[in-house]
């Protein structure tokens, strides 16, 4: 509906122009939650990256989520970080490469 769009636009303008009404970083909590993974992955454009950081620093609702997501990622990274290819497999690969003419040294 057109009047709804106009109303939203007006709200956005008020939010942007009256500093004490705008959320930290100019992002709502919902927007920040949606961008959090990209922020943690360091995949956001510098300007947006900065805005998410600003929001997280000063938002009491979103900051705990950051701690929570970090703990999750650490658990995932820890679970898989130490897996290595078996030595016999490495030897087998080297042997098969050598039969292709590869020189290992």
């Amino acid at each position: 509906m057109k009047w709804m769009d106009e109303f939203r636009k007006l709200l956005r303008r008020v939010r942007d122009e009256v500093p004490y009404l705008s959320p930290p970083g100019g992002l709502s909590c919902q927007e920040t939650v949606e961008l959090l993974f990209e922020w943690l992955d360091e995949e956001l454009e510098p300007e947006l990256d900065e805005r998410v950081a600003t929001h997280l620093e000063s938002c009491a609702r979103c900051y705990p989520l950051l701690t929570f997501e970090r703990a999750f990622r650490e658990a995932v990274a820890r679970a898989t970080g130490n897996e290595k290819a078996p030595d016999e497999l490495k030897e087998r690969i080297m042997e098969s490469l050598e039969t292709e003419g590869f020189r290992s040294s």
Partner: protein
Amino acid sequence: MADRASRDQSFREEALPEMDAVYRFALRLAREPDQAEDLTQETFLRAYRNWEKYTPGTRARSWLFTICRNLFIRREERSRRHQEIVQEASEEDPRQISREATIFMSVRNRDPEGEFWSQVVDAEVLRAIEGLPAEFREAVVLSDLEDLSYQEVAEVVGAPVGTVKSRLFRGRRMLQKALHDYAVETGIISPTSPRGAAR
């Protein structure tokens, strides 16, 4: 032959150090150690035979992952299991995966800092990753386990960056749900209290 020697040298320097990473990736794709070993070996053989197609210094890891993934898909197609994998992935209704951090919302009164994540045993994390539908599994593995950028993941899986982002988002949320359910089942974390649920 000087050419041959420098070719072998660059293969030694760029490809061989990725053996563990390729094996881990193969293991997550195939979910069986024997098959993962075969895939890893075949990947390195193909990579060596086609080494001149690799542009030196462009991150051999993603190039090797691409070869490994293609080999895996071809094998799966041959054994017709690919069909199941495609179905498995598309059965997931995107609307069921909320954009909200639902697990966080449900545990924030009990464990706001997510301490329960660190008590979930590694084997269970791996099992949960292996339980993800294929397209989400590979995105999570490549990004979270092997540290590829979104662009690199997109190149390996042959999908646009936007698709990778959305698969990662949903894949991680699915993984969180699976691990949270496990943590509740095993008593690492208490189930949502009726009071908490009413809030």
